[in-house]
Structures are given as structure tokens and as C-alpha cells.
């Protein structure tokens, strides 16, 4: 098992344990939908420069927690800091600008933009993105050239350079996952949050995706990713956080987690050992949401 560091050795294996150098610290984050508590995280820290996996059975609130941290949803209560500064209640685009960039479970490649345009979109602080400056090409043409160069470098690294001029909609599912990850890097983030990066990717590409994730850590970035598949988690994560029913129930290395009885109980009955197809993921997501709706007592509301 490749491990880049040994920081986790002295860390306690308890939910909410403190890390030597946390980049992300969340406290008392709660999100309810009607009557059901989807997320209720007391305290969690994410170690800087690590690959941390967030796992849990369906409906555990992983994606909701992700949405909250990245400003895509608003919690009922809770605070969290990123790199020492509070980012709670800050809109999603500002969270991204602070250096915490996310991807989505269902890829959001911008279909009718070319692969290159997708990439260039990720670059921050572009002068040509201002309405009036956009009209005056000389104001931004030099910067545009730099951005294009950087985009091309990343495309080469992610082996998408041959698709540079194609519409992103022409890419395969796996290529879209790669594009989305590469595009997130254009933002030059400190931390990358990947929501099920392997979902719907064919096994041949999975390995390449995993290598890219590891490369992010090697470049000094922090990675937090949501995953169903224990095998994947085992392969690449330094640290694993387990959620169930909105709460964090365990933390530890992949080895600790795989023998943790609480985790096994939580997973029991769900098919965690087979990679899920996108359709299956959708169906499970739907199931979770329906469960929420029913709990809410919205059953009598159409």
C-alpha cells in the first residue's frame, strides 16, 4: 500500500480526531430536509497534502456534506474553515476561488464547448471575463495565450490533447471524468474535492484515473473524495472517513476501516464490492432522496 507520509501513525482512530496540520476543519455541520437529518457532522479535520476518502453506504449524506462544504447547499447550522479562514456561508464560486475546487458525481462537462474551451474556463482572474474588457481584445490577449499554454500542458498530461478541438460532448464517460479533473486543476486549487471520480468509468480507465489522483497529492494538493468502492479506497487513500446516516462513525487508515465492525454493519446489505454503473448510482441516489422525502412527511404532497 503506497503511503506518502507517516503523519497518520500517531493520530487517534476515533471519529472527529485531530490531525497534525488540517487544511479543512468542520464543526457542528447539520443539514435537515424536513424531518430527516441528512448531515450531522460533529467535528472533522482533513490533513493537508493527504488523500482522504469519504465513504459510507447510500444515503449516508456524503454528497450533501460535499455540497455544504463547497457552498452548493446551505446548512441549518455549522462552521468550517479552509486554510484557517472561515468559508461557511460563502457562495460556491468564492469557495472555489479560495482554492477548494470540486467535481461532480454526474460529470458536468460543458458539451457544446470544445475540450480546450472547457479547460480555459477553469483559469481564474481572467481579465477578459469582465464585460467591458471583453470588448477590447488587446487587454486580455496575452493572458489568453498563457492560459491556452497551461491548458495544453494539462491536456497532454491527461492524454486528452488529441481531443483538443472536439466538443466536450463527443468524449466518452471516462474522458469526461478526466476532463473534469483537469479543468479543476486549471483553477490551481490547494484542495480538490472529487465526488465519486470512478463512478461510471470503465475498468481500463480506472487505473489511469487513480494515478492522476495520486499525482495531485504528489503535486502538493489535498484530495478529498467520495467513493463507494472499498477496493478503490484501499488503493489510494491515506485516510478514510466513514459516514452513515449523516454522522461520521469511524476514521482511520484503509486497513483500520476494513476491519471496523461499525463500518461493516453500516455497509451490510449494500453491494459495495462491485463497481456501480452510472444508472445504478442514479437509482441509488434517487432511492436516498425518496427516503428523505418520505421521512419529511412530504408523501402527501405532490
Amino acid at each position: 500500500m503506497p503511503v506518502a507520509d507517516t503523519w497518520m501513525e500517531p493520530v487517534e482512530r476515533t471519529p472527529g480526531c485531530s490531525k497534525p496540520d488540517p487544511i479543512l476543519v468542520a464543526d457542528g455541520v447539520r443539514r435537515t430536509f424536513g424531518g430527516l437529518t441528512a448531515v450531522d457532522v460533529g467535528h472533522v479535520e482533513v490533513q493537508r497534502g493527504s488523500i482522504t476518502a469519504l465513504i459510507g453506504p447510500n444515503g449516508a449524506g456524503k454528497t450533501t456534506f460535499f455540497n455544504l462544504l463547497t457552498g452548493f447547499d446551505e446548512p441549518d447550522e455549522g462552521t468550517w474553515t479552509f486554510d484557517g479562514a472561515s468559508v461557511a456561508g460563502i457562495p460556491a464560486h468564492k469557495v472555489a476561488r479560495r482554492g477548494m475546487v470540486r467535481t461532480f458525481q454526474l460529470t458536468k462537462s460543458l458539451a457544446r464547448l470544445s475540450v480546450l474551451e472547457n479547460m480555459k474556463l477553469g483559469a481564474t482572474a481572467q481579465r477578459g471575463e469582465g464585460f467591458f474588457a471583453a470588448l477590447a481584445r488587446p487587454l486580455w490577449s496575452a493572458q489568453e495565450k498563457d492560459v491556452t499554454e497551461r491548458a495544453d500542458e494539462l491536456l497532454v498530461r491527461f492524454k486528452l490533447d488529441h481531443m483538443r478541438g472536439e466538443f466536450a460532448g463527443e468524449l466518452s464517460g471516462g474522458q469526461r471524468k478526466l476532463l473534469e479533473m483537469a479543468r479543476a486543476l486549471m483553477v490551481q486549487p490547494q484542495m480538490v474535492m472529487l465526488d465519486e471520480p470512478m463512478a461510471g468509468v470503465n475498468p481500463a480507465l480506472t487505473q489511469s484515473l487513480l494515478e492522476h489522483v495520486k499525482a495531485l497529492r504528489d503535486d502538493g494538493m489535498t484530495v478529498l473524495f467520495v467513493e463507494h468502492d472499498m477496493d478503490v479506497v484501499h488503493d489510494i487513500s491515506d485516510w478514510v472517513v466513514v459516514m452513515a446516516e449523516g454522522k461520521i462513525i469511524a476514521e482511520g487508515t484503509a486497513d483500520d476501516i476494513s476491519t471496523n465492525s461499525l463500518v461493516i454493519d453500516a455497509y451490510l446489505g449494500s453491494h459495495h464490492d462491485a463497481p456501480l454503473t452510472e444508472a445504478e448510482v442514479q437509482a441509488q441516489l434517487a432511492e436516498a432522496e425518496a427516503a428523505i422525502a418520505i421521512e419529511e412527511g412530504r408523501a402527501d404532497d405532490v
Partner: protein, 337 residues
């Protein structure tokens, strides 16, 4: 059947002031719908703001015509802010609902007897654009170019109008090729993705709504100036959807699409309208066996054209959403998502 008359009328209208109004309204919609994916169903509200700012400014408040032009643009910005502020954070169907409602609100208020002193009520306002026609460089009388024939004031309106169309297109061409355009087009595809990359989606949507609205208001000004008259009932909701039809006909999401679409649309509607009128006047329909004798009477021609536009919009959206010149590939991609 006077085919010469039919073609002349259609051609004259196809490049005439009415086509300019449709073109500007459609260019505005192109920014909002074609590029940013915003469903503005109340473009007519912006036309109304443009038209009435001039009419009321000059006639009711006695302001300078050119000051009113500026006020019209400013009012369009304010209207866009008012409509965008509550809706642009929500799904785009909310924008559609609010804008279609706003178009009707504005028309109802303008035609209300209660404010007749200010707005002219249902009778509207006339003769407010003398300042515009005073600087008309074209000699009086009628000016023929080939088949078509325009009055000197029409020519003046057309010169300014097509000039504004060209200027708007140039501006959009520059904007869309810039990083700004990239962000806006990306929002059309998936706004959450754009948000996750650190762009303030709300701001861009607002800018697109404002830009499209202001261009629509320019169209409204041409609409009012051309006839030197504005009545609220000429600003019914269907006018928005004429512009949508023109936009989709020419190809939405292309700089020249709305312009080509507006010319073709205006030509086709004028052609249909004149042909139907000729058919009715010459009692040709009556001679066709099996057709009921009262199938179409003269005062129903306008309604018949609107039916055809409605069906045409449906057919375009279903069978050729990329427009008459569009690329099938883009449609295939957006369908696959």
C-alpha cells in the same frame, strides 16, 4: 393573383423597418437564450420600455428626444435588474414565468385608463419622433432600389436601424469570442460546473439579461419611431414569440442567426399575409372544390398568419432546433447529455 405585388411586398418588408425590430428583439434573445440559456419570455416588455420611454419622454414630459433615447436604455437596464434579481438564482422556468407576466403587466398598466394622462391609455401616443426625422438626409419622395420601394423616412429609419443591428452584432461577435463569452456559453451548458470553477454565475446571467434587454429596447425604439406611434395592444405577448421564431429559424447561438432569421421570418410572414389576402380578394379559395366557402375571410388573414407562426415555432423547435442553416452535430450533442 398579383405575384409581382406579393413578392414586392414581401421583399420590401423583409428588409424594412419591421424586420429591423424583429432582428433587434431576436439579437437580444440570442444573447439571453442562445448564449446564456436564459428563457426570457417577456422580450416585449423591453420593447415596450424602449418605445414608451421615447413616446412618454417627448410627449408627456416634454424632454429632449436624444435624452429620451438615453433614458430608454437606462430603463431597460433597470427592468432587467428588477426581473433578474428575484429569478436568476432559481431555475430558468421561473424567469420565463416572471418575464411573460412582466410583459403583460406593462401592457396592462400602459393601457389602463387610470394613467391615461401619462401613458395615453389604450389609444397610445403619437408624433414624438420629429427630432429624429428632422435630421433625415434622404430627399423627400419615394426611393426605389431594384424591386423594392421605400419612402425617404423609411430609408432613414432603415439606415439607422440596420446600422444598429450591425453594431449589436459586432459587439456580440467580440463578446462571444472573449473569455466573457466562454463563461456565458458555459452557463448555458451547466451553471453548477461554472460555479464550481469560481465564476459568479449570477453576475454573468444578469449581464446577459441586461445586454439582451437593452438591445430589445433599441428594437422597441425603432418600432415606435418608424410609425411615429405606439399603442399598448401592439405589444402583446406574441411579439416576443415572433422574435423567438425568427431566432430559431436563423439559428440561435450564432451571431448572424437572428438577423438572417428576422429577414426570412418577416419575408415569409409578409409573403403569406399578402398571398392569403390576394387569395381572398380574388375569391380563389371559393373555386377550389371541397373547401368550405367561409374558410378564410379578409379580417382573419392576420390570425391565420399567427397560427402559422405558432405551428412554425413548434415545428422548428422539434425538427430543426439548430435553424435552417444550423449544424446537426451540435443538436446531437445536446440531445445526448
Amino acid at each position: 393573383m398579383d405575384w409581382r405585388l406579393i413578392f414586392d411586398t414581401a421583399l420590401t418588408q423583409g428588409f424594412g423597418p419591421q424586420a429591423i425590430v424583429v432582428a433587434l428583439a431576436a439579437i437580444g434573445l440570442n444573447v439571453q437564450f442562445g448564449y446564456a440559456g436564459l428563457l426570457n419570455f417577456g422580450q416585449v416588455a423591453f420593447l415596450a420600455v424602449g418605445a414608451y420611454s421615447i413616446a412618454m419622454g417627448v410627449d408627456t414630459f416634454g424632454l429632449n428626444f436624444w435624452l429620451c433615447v438615453f433614458l430608454a436604455l437606462l430603463s431597460a437596464v433597470v427592468l432587467a435588474l428588477l426581473l433578474g434579481f428575484p429569478t436568476l438564482r432559481l431555475r430558468t422556468d421561473y424567469l420565463a414565468i416572471v418575464t411573460i407576466a412582466a410583459g403583460e403587466i406593462i401592457r396592462l398598466v400602459l393601457r389602463a385608463g387610470s394613467y391615461r394622462g401619462t401613458t395615453g391609455g389604450a389609444a397610445g401616443i403619437q408624433n414624438f419622433a420629429d427630432d429624429f426625422f428632422e435630421i433625415n438626409p434622404f430627399p423627400r419622395g419615394s426611393n426605389g432600389i431594384g424591386f423594392v420601394d421605400y419612402s425617404s423616412s423609411d430609408l432613414w429609419v432603415m439606415t439607422v436601424g440596420w446600422g444598429l443591428v450591425a453594431a449589436s452584432c459586432l459587439m456580440i461577435f467580440l463578446l462571444i469570442r472573449s473569455p466573457w463569452g466562454r463563461v456565458v456559453k458555459a452557463i448555458r451548458e451547466d451553471e453548477d460546473a461554472v460555479r464550481s470553477l469560481g465564476k459568479n454565475v449570477y453576475l454573468y446571467k444578469m449581464q446577459a439579461l441586461i445586454l439582451g434587454g437593452v438591445i430589445g429596447a433599441v428594437g422597441g425604439m425603432i418600432f415606435a419611431i418608424d410609425r411615429q406611434s405606439i399603442v399598448p395592444d401592439s405589444l402583446g405577448t406574441q411579439r416576443t414569440f415572433f422574435a423567438y421564431t425568427a431566432l430559431i429559424l436563423g439559428g440561435s447561438g450564432r451571431v448572424g442567426g437572428p438577423v438572417v432569421g428576422a429577414i426570412v421570418f418577416t419575408f415569409l410572414t409578409a409573403f403569406t399575409d399578402t398571398t392569403l389576402r390576394e387569395l381572398v380578394e380574388n375569391n380563389i379559395l371559393d373555386k377550389i372544390p371541397l373547401l368550405p366557402s367561409d374558410l378564410l375571410v379578409a379580417n382573419e388573414v392576420g390570425i391565420a398568419v399567427q397560427i402559422l407562426v405558432g405551428l412554425g415555432l413548434m415545428a422548428l423547435m422539434i425538427f430543426r432546433p439548430q435553424g435552417i442553416f444550423g449544424d446537426k452535430r451540435e443538436v446531437a450533442i445536446s440531445a445526448r447529455r
